[in-house]
């Protein structure tokens, strides 16, 4: 269907954009890449009265690495630009691992990293990556700036801690720890589709496993960490036995739902599969990064 009518705003500065959000926040949506928002409108699942097109705002399309190795991705960094970034590959490798799974090439031309995170689809990769890496979301409004931790950011299905008057201007990924590998493993019906089950995984090894993150997407109404399984890995050797045990814990603790594409039992099974695959792949990548 054609999208419902709305008022279109194309601010030229961040201040102007934040002013529009202050005035219209409750009835407004921010338009950046539009790869999730416009389909929602075309399906008439959403009818915002105002679209605030931030596509022309200056200074938001940069990828920067600070002196400590923190990676800062601005609101207008497209998936395609992030995918080709050696800074991200070197300093936030889990983001690089996830990007080829995000939609299709044509979607990644327009879609943005911050947009995926703000949209917070629970079956999407980048929210789970933000949660796995303890990323910080920078939310700006005409009242000021808030830094929101990933663990506090995702509140429910397509719901985040962003207030209606706030714009997600940056996502910051903390410096990549030493001896740490990253992998994203997912099962979807077609490459580029939303995952029936997937995991964004990091593992740190120094003689033994010192830390691990298992952040699932397609598993619940928000991205979710399997903390019990993560803790079970610490102190063990990074081998098939440890990964099998972690996968068993994942399968017994995750409570995935059922839909047209997969039953809950099938999703639980897939959770074990992707856990084993991602842990092995992430381990094999330690040292290959940065």
């Amino acid at each position: 269907m054609k999208i419902p009518a709305f008022s279109y705003h194309r601010p030229e500065s961040l201040d102007e954009a934040l002013g529009l959000l202050r005035d219209h926040g409750d009835d407004a949506k921010v338009l950046a890449g539009g790869q999730s928002l416009l389909p929602i409108m075309a399906l008439r699942l959403g009818r915002p009265e105002h679209l605030i097109d931030i596509g022309r705002l200056p200074g938001l399309a940069s990828i920067t690495v600070d002196g400590r190795g923190k990676v800062i991705i601005g609101a207008l960094v497209r998936h395609a630009a992030a995918e080709g970034s050696t800074d991200i590959a070197g300093h936030a490798p889990l983001v690089s691992e996830a990007l080829p799974h995000v939609g299709h090439t044509a979607i990644r031309t327009r879609g943005t990293v911050c947009g995926s995170i703000a949209h917070a689809d629970p079956a999407a990769e980048l929210p789970a990556v933000a949660l796995a890496t303890d990323a910080i979301m920078v939310a700006e409004s005409s009242d000021g700036v808030r830094h929101i931790r990933a663990s506090d950011f995702f509140e429910g299905y397509l719901q985040t801690a962003l207030r209606p008057d706030e714009l997600l201007t940056e996502v910051r990924f903390p410096p990549w720890p030493d001896n740490t590998g990253a992998a994203v493993s997912e099962v979807s019906r077609r490459h580029g589709d939303f995952a029936m089950m997937g995991v964004a995984c990091t593992i740190s090894v120094a003689d033994e496993i010192t830390a691990a993150a298992l952040s699932f997407f397609g598993a619940d109404s928000i991205p979710i960490r399997a903390t019990e399984a993560e803790q079970s890995l610490v102190g063990r050797q990074p081998d098939g036995d440890a990964f099998d045990d972690a996968a068993k814990i994942v399968m017994s603790t995750l409570q995935p739902g059922a839909d047209l594409h997969a039953s809950a039992a099938h999703r639980r099974h897939l959770a074990g599969v992707v856990t084993r695959r991602a842990l092995a792949e992430a381990t094999s990548r330690i040292g290959a990064m940065a």
Binding site: M1, K2, I3, A5, F6, S7, Y8, H9, R10, L20, L31, G34, Q35, L38, P39, A42, L43, L51, D53, G55, A80, G103, H104, T105, A106, I107, T109, R110, R190, H191, G192
Partner: protein, 167 residues
């Protein structure tokens, strides 16, 4: 600020020709390409980003014209299927290869597939069959079962290789 039903004048370069257009801010780029510019080779299937029939090249990269307001395209360079063949009618190697290998049947999906292929071969002149499958995964075909399309891409690779053409 502009309001619902309001219009915006945009400048776009379509198939090498720069045009100024006054468009309703609510309208999609795909509709403007088809209805205002008369370039009906850009097809509309699902109109919510799933089928890939409306794929165009936006500043050289494939993009869904049904998932962009025309207003968002202001200042961009767009290639549609009509922009692939030479002005003398010689088909682009990707078109020639699809023709030679009977890539399509009904061809409703053809423009999207071929523009996606052009972008793929510009980025990766000799992609593996696996890479071709992955890159074309965002385009749906309900006739062929895809084998003939992927064969067509491989034919295009060979054709461009023998022609030494970088078109």
């Amino acid at each position: 600020m502009t309001l619902a039903g309001d219009t915006l004048t945009i400048s776009v370069t379509v198939n090498g020709e720069t045009t100024e257009l006054t468009v309703e801010t609510r309208r999609m780029l795909s509709d403007v390409i088809r209805d205002d510019l008369g370039l009906t080779g850009t097809h509309l299937g699902c109109e919510h980003g799933v089928c890939g029939a409306c794929t165009i090249l936006l500043d050289g990269r494939p993009a869904r014209s049904c998932l962009m307001l025309a207003a968002q395209a202001d200042g961009s360079e767009i290639t549609t299927i009509e922009g692939l063949a030479s002005t003398d009618g010689t088909m682009h190697p990707v078109q020639q290869a699809m023709h030679d290998s009977h890539g399509f049947q009904c061809a409703f999906c053809a423009s999207g597939f071929m523009l996606t292929t052009v972008a793929l071969l510009a980025a990766e002149p000799k992609p593996s069959r696996e890479r071709i499958r992955r890159e074309l995964s965002g385009n749906l075909c309900r006739c062929t079962g895809y084998q003939s399309i992927i064969d067509g891409v491989e034919t295009a690779v060979a054709l461009i290789d023998t022609e030494g053409s970088d078109r």
